[in-house]
Amino acid sequence: MEQNNFKETVLRISGVNPKKCMRCGKCSGACPNYDEMEFHPHQFVSMVENGEIEKLMTSPSVYKCLTCFACVERCPRQVEPAKLIEAVRLCVIRQAGQNHLKPDQIPEMLDEDLPQQAIVSAFRKFTK
């Protein structure tokens, strides 16, 4: 029940129909951060389709996605995996206290090369 609810939520937030996927793997072929990710874009698509959302939610992969949209751009069937990943991430951070980035973690991450904007967008992306 819970699982279905998550699946429904992910599908609603993303507007993606994973059934359109023909399992070609071009998304993962195009992914520049493939090796960093536990689950790869094509797996997101099939796992969402199979309702295995919680597995995805607990994986660091959701934060590793660069949101570069290469997978969206390359997908021959307009499945848009990045939107699914984003939706899973939203499912996580919408749960109370699930902010992935906490303000007190920031100081230790700071170095000279980190642009200000990156911090701002990281907050946008990883917090509620």
């Binding site: 359109k20 023909m22 399992r23 070609c24 793997g25 071009k26 998304c27 993962s28 072929g29 195009a30 992914c31 493939y34 090796d35 790869h40 094509h42 797996q43 290469a70 390359r74 021959p76 069937r77 307009q78």
Partner: protein, 663 residues
């Protein structure tokens, strides 16, 4: 006044169990003009048919109504019965009291009442039936084949074999088509030229076949059995009848920087050229965009070296008019343009090639003389990546196609296998989504590539190809091993989707045939009439109808020829008599009907009419060609004045049925 006979069939118990057939017959017998009625167990049996024949004779019936099964079942039977009795077959109407009455109702009273109403409607219609005669039209015993690829060649040869004249119109200077560019054929690996060129010679030598090469179809008029086609013969600046094909001109021509389209631009040719050694007709052609003589008036070398005096710089396009009984469309396909596939770096690196380009690179007659060298540095490639489904099976707005191009899996396997055979030191990777091998010996062929030749088949689409330091970085995911691969390749071969030739769409308009949204011609029926178009007399051969490999193309080409022969063997064509007819006195000449006719059956003539007070007026009126009309009736509704009516389904007949049902 009609004299109508009503025959009610029991169909054993199929009808009689739920419909009181006796009551139906008796009630319908009371209808005006019904002079005879009868009910019988099996009207379609010989005994039943004899009853009808006798009744027609005895009661001088002018029309009959059969209350029985669906007209889709036995209308033809009862029409023949009527004809046997000397009654026009179109004076028969069927009331469907089985499929549409006894079988769907349980209550006897209800079903009987409905059967009576359906009978009344049929009687009301038959009141207004008129005897119809199918029109006849003669057949010109000559066929036109548009396109001189393997499909066109095979169709033409088969038709000519049956003794009919055939003309082939080919827009290129030679026939042969794509097959002439291919190196070897799957799954047998025969040399393509070895099996194609003898056929091309057969065509050239066949007295019944005439080739219009370097020509296009400019206009098509007429209809099945009587097409009137205008063929544009483009000026090739060489007199075809004089040229011996010796090739002296092509060697001496000083303009050497003409991209060679036969080799897909991988090398250059001269401004005067013969596409390849076995070209048919083997006649030189001048490319007017590059010839210095034609462009500036200075040169004339070819003319000087031509011993036959065949060069004619003043040649003009020529229009030829010819009549045909049947037209075969064999316009073929092209690989799609890949310039928008940035991820595969097709536009960025010369070492990313299409499969057809790869064919030329491996062909002994190709730019490299059959030695596999990469285009950029003419070095032997050691790692080759094949990418399948490029532009096929895509959805959405992109430049790709939604369909599977069907031939790529097999030719990629062929390329991989041949490469490994000739150059065992080469690593060959094939990235696939699915490998589709439904064909005789196809899967075996693919398995051989994997098992015997060691081709690396990897499930997963390539995501990115980027040229780096003279190499090509191929990034792809291996879906089965769940890892991302980065392969440093020397050559990347893209299995580009195939699409119909661009000449097909304007041709379809000329022929009034239908196309699907991908510009493939639509067959008359996807299962049962796969080689005919919906327009009578137009047939489809080869890839113009959908992606096909060579064996399929050849079998369709022969099937198509069989259909054409079947048509040309007839002296006269009998039409469907239920066709539209225009009442010229009422026609406004407004062209509404013409615009909705899917068959181009309606034309307009200016005709003189006697007007009030002895004046004469010339009016534009519609004229339906009964040989072309298929009787759909679209025109009858488009016509505001009601001048257009449909025989067999006239306005008054349908309204009479409506009246009978609603009263």
């Amino acid at each position: 006044m009609q004299r109508i006979g009503v025959f009610v069939c029991w169909c054993g118990s199929n009808i009689a169990a739920t419909v009181d057939v006796k009551k139906v017959a008796e009630t319908l017998g009371k209808e005006p003009c019904v002079v005879y009625y009868e009910n019988y167990q099996y009207m379609c049996s010989e005994e039943g048919q004899n009853k009808i024949i006798n009744a027609i004779h005895e009661h001088k019936l002018s029309g009959i109504v059969i209350c029985s099964c669906s007209p889709r079942m036995h209308e033809a039977t009862f029409r023949r019965t009527a004809q046997k009795a000397g009654l026009n077959p179109y004076m028969v109407e069927i009331a469907n009291i089985r499929e549409q009455c006894s079988w769907i109702h349980k209550d006897m009273a209800t079903a009987t009442e409905k059967a009576i109403i359906l009978g009344r409607a049929a009687i009301a219609k038959v009141h207004l039936n008129t005897p119809l005669q199918a029109g006849e039209s003669p057949v010109v015993k000559r066929a036109l084949v548009i396109g001189g690829g393997i499909a066109g060649i095979q169709t033409a040869l088969d038709i000519a074999d049956a003794g009919f004249e055939v003309d082939i119109v080919e827009k290129k200077p030679t026939i042969g088509g794509k097959m002439s560019q291919i190196d070897k054929t799957f799954p047998t690996l025969d040399c393509s030229a070895c099996i194609l060129t003898p056929k091309m010679v057969d065509v050239a030598q066949n007295e019944k076949i005439h080739i219009y090469s370097y020509s296009e179809v400019a206009a098509v008029k007429g209809f099945v059995g009587n097409f009137d086609v205008t063929i544009k013969r483009k000026a090739r600046y060489v007199k075809e009848e004089l040229c011996t094909g010796c090739g002296a001109c092509t060697e001496k021509c000083p303009q050497k920087k003409v991209p060679n389209d036969f080799n897909l631009g991988l090398d250059n040719k001269h401004a005067i050229y013969i596409p390849f050694a076995q070209a048919v007709p083997k006649v030189a052609t001048i490319d007017p965009d590059y010839c210095m003589m034609l462009k500036t008036g200075k040169c004339g070398v070819c003319s000087k070296v031509c011993a036959a005096g065949a060069i004619d710089y003043k040649q003009q396009d020529e229009l030829v008019q010819q009549q045909y009984g049947a037209i075969v469309v064999a316009t073929g396909y092209n690989p799609i343009d890949l310039k928008n596939y940035d991820e595969f770096a097709y536009s960025q690196s010369p070492d990313v090639v299409t499969s057809l380009e790869f064919e030329r690179l491996t062909n002994a007659a190709g730019p490299t003389g059959g030695v596999l060298l990469r285009p950029s540095d003419r070095q032997h490639p050691h790692t080759i990546v094949f990418v399948q489904c490029v532009g096929s099976r895509e959805s959405g707005e992109g430049c790709g196609k939604t369909y599977c191009s069907k031939i790529c899996c097999m030719y990629t396997a062929k390329h991989a296998m041949l490469t490994r055979e000739k150059y065992p030191d080469t690593e060959v990777y094939v990235f696939y989504i699915d490998v589709r091998t439904p064909g005789k010996n196809f899967d075996e062929f693919y398995r051989r590539a994997v098992e015997e030749y060691g081709v690396h088949y990897i499930k997963g689409m390539v995501g990115k190809v980027s040229p780096e330091n003279g190499k090509l970085m191929v990034q792809a995911s291996d879906l089965l091993d769940n890892k991302q691969l980065k392969i440093e390749a020397d050559l990347v071969v893209l299995a580009a989707a195939i699409e119909p030739d661009p000449s097909a769409r304007p041709l379809a308009t000329m022929l009034t045939t239908q196309m699907d949204t991908n510009d493939f011609f639509t067959e008359a029926h996807p299962k049962l009439r796969p080689v005919e178009s919906a327009t009578a007399g137009i047939f489809l051969s080869g890839c113009c109808q959908g992606p096909k490999d060579i064996p399929e193309t050849v079998s369709q080409a022969s099937a198509c020829a069989a259909k054409v022969i079947g048509l040309l063997a007839k002296d006269k064509l009998l039409g469907n008599p239920c066709v539209a007819e225009s009442n010229e006195l009422m026609c406004n000449g407004c062209s509404s009907c013409e615009k909705v006719c899917p068959y181009g059956a309606i034309s307009y003539v200016d005709k003189e009419f006697k007007m009030p007070n002895r004046t004469i007026a010339v009016r534009r009126v519609a004229n339906v060609n009964p040989a072309v009309c298929q009787g759909c009736g679209a025109c009858t509704v488009a016509c505001p004045s009601g001048a257009m009516d449909l025989k067999g389904f006239s306005n008054s007949q349908i309204m009479a049925e409506v009246d009978a049902i609603c009263k």
